[in-house]
């Protein structure tokens, strides 16, 4: 599936939730289910330290596709990280580079990605894009 198709899927899924509790319960579920990061990747250099929560993030390039892993100490943050991974994992660097990230706004989670909310997610999105650019350069 393309990045946009996955985003459309997520938007549709969230449209089905009747109230905020369902939405957040789902994020908690996603956060709990995300396998997180292998211990060897839980390093200081993979740590994005917000003053509210921590995010560990790792990216690699395998067979021309970007592989992403993330973890967080806050479950809701981890749940949103799981959605970001669902959108960007196994995509090509070029598609990631050119992607328009729109689902976060549309499912009403924009507040978690405001630059002033230092939960690590904004930096994670920036890093995904940076890896897209870097890997695109490498694979050329």
């Amino acid at each position: 599936m393309t990045i946009n198709e996955i985003q459309e899927d997520i938007i549709e899924e969230f449209a089905g939730f009747e109230d905020w509790m369902d939405k957040y319960a789902y994020l908690i579920e996603l956060g709990t289910d995300l396998s997180g990061l292998d211990a060897k990747h839980q390093t200081e250099s993979n740590l994005i330290k917000g003053c509210q929560s921590k995010v560990w993030f790792n990216a690699s390039l395998e067979n021309g596709l970007v592989k992403l892993q993330a973890d967080s100490d806050a479950i809701i943050v981890k749940g949103i990280a799981a959605l970001l991974i669902r959108v960007f994992n196994n995509q090509t660097p070029q598609d990631i580079m050119n992607a328009d990230l729109k689902f976060i706004d549309e499912i009403g989670l924009k507040q978690h990605l405001s630059p002033t909310r230092s939960n690590g997610l904004v930096s994670m999105v920036k890093q995904i894009k940076m890896y897209g650019i870097a890997f695109n350069h490498v694979s050329k």
Binding site: W20, M21, Y24, A25, I28, E29, T32, C51, Q52, S53, K54, D73, A74, I75, I76, V77, H112, N119
Partner: protein, 408 residues
């Protein structure tokens, strides 16, 4: 007299707001308090009718604004019972007040090998300015620790003070734990050894009556916005004899007596420390806030908030897995807590969805968090306009969050 809560709440327009469609429960008062109409109206009135740059103006409006500003100074003076109105310096807030003392007092009195003592319980703004001056002067920063209840280990203070100790800077009330510190005792111990004391009263002027002469404190600082006044205005109180010895910190208009390229002489107190156009309208707003607080009565405020603290503490502790950080005997209406297995960010986000405003994180007191071995807490802080019904909403909210995490 007790507080007429319905009447009081009507004074604060923001308390009628709906957040995510639910009535606002504002429990972030230690970060900033809401403003009563009396303050908002005063600000509006001055902008509508009297605004003009103060001091040295010859026209009607300038005199009117100047009078307002200087009257506010007298209101602050009486509020903390300072001997002179010129011992009240208007700053942008407690942080700037501490920076002023650290820089100006530090410039004059702190030298290589000297010592400054702060406590482990301080807000970063009462740590970092001292670290900066200590670094610049090759002085030493020492730390008075606290015990696991969050109480300063006052018995260790005497041993920390040496003949090189120049100043002790501690808060009156801890912003993250709510501990009320024994400042009278601290000042006595310090003065017995000729050491100066700065009290950070940012978390106490809105809860407790303060008398700087009775305390014999050398410096005392607070912020306007935490006592129902505007943001961007704060106070430094300093003893006249000390302020007179201290050099100006910032240069500019208003703080000078005469300027030439060969030599500039400085204005008298308090203007020596108020360079540039002062924030006079917010100073006037602060005056209005203090008058409002006095009309409610500090004794009434203290007793209502204490009742809320006791009610909330007892109620929240019935929640399985909830731990309160900061269990000092002497406490104000601040409850820092964590529920086992639930991150403070998650708790804060979900409570927000229910219209409940709490603060999460380190509360600018990382050493306090390090003491407890945690990354942060959820902090609910109460004001006299809060009610027991609102605490019930918080209780139900936390229980709801716990349930959401239990069914994962």
């Amino acid at each position: 007299m007790t507080i007429d809560i319905h009447k009081v709440r009507k004074d604060f327009p923001i308390l009628e707001e709906l957040i995510h469609g639910k009535p606002l429960v504002y429990f972030d008062n230690a970060a900033t308090t809401q403003k009563p109409r009396q303050v908002i109206d005063k600000l509006t009135e001055y902008y509508y009718k009297y605004n003009s740059n103060i001091h040295r103006g010859v026209h009607y409006l300038s005199n009117k604004s100047t009078d307002g500003n200087e009257n506010a100074r007298i209101i602050v003076q009486n509020f903390i019972h300072a001997k002179h109105s010129h011992e009240i310096i208007f700053t942008s807030g407690a942080t700037e007040s501490i920076n002023l003392v650290a820089n100006s007092f530090g410039e004059k009195f702190i030298f290589e090998g000297d010592e400054v003592i702060v406590s482990e319980l301080e807000h970063h703004s009462n740590i970092v300015p001292w670290q900066l001056i200590c670094e610049r002067k090759n002085a030493v920063l020492k730390v008075l620790p606290f015990n696991d209840r969050g109480e300063l280990m006052i018995e260790k203070l005497d041993g920390l003070i040496t003949e090189r100790t120049k100043i002790i800077a501690v808060n009156h009330i801890s912003n993250s734990l709510g501990t009320i510190n024994p400042i009278r005792k601290i000042i006595e111990i310090a003065h017995a050894k000729n050491v100066r004391v700065l009290i950070d009263a940012a978390q106490s002027v809105q809860h407790k009556t303060i008398d700087v002469q009775d305390l014999d404190v050398d410096f005392l600082v607070f912020s306007g916005h935490k006592i129902y006044g505007p943001t961007g205005i704060g106070v430094l109180y300093g003893k006249e004899e000390l302020l007179n010895q201290m050099p100006p910190w910032k240069g500019g208009g208003e703080m000078i007596a005469e300027v030439s390229f060969e030599k500039t002489t400085y204005n008298e107190l308090p203007f020596k420390f108020e360079a540039g156009t002062p924030n006079y309208i917010d100073a006037i707003g602060l005056g209005a806030a203090i008058e409002y607080v006095e009309s409610i009565g500090m004794v009434n405020i203290d007793s209502h908030e204490h009742e809320l603290l006791e009610y909330a503490t007892e109620k929240l502790l019935t929640i399985n897995g909830l731990r309160i950080y900061g269990t000092a005997k002497e406490k104000t209406s601040v409850i820092s807590f964590l529920v086992k297995g639930i991150h403070f960010y998650d708790m804060g986000m979900l409570l927000d969805q229910m219209g409940i405003a709490v603060r999460t994180g380190t509360h600018c007191t990382e050493p306090v968090m390090q003491h407890f071995g945690i990354d942060g807490t959820v902090r609910a802080s109460f004001s006299f306009y809060n009610t027991k019904e609102e605490i019930d909403v918080l209780y139900n909210g936390i229980v709801k969050v716990c349930k959401m995490f239990a069914v994962k």
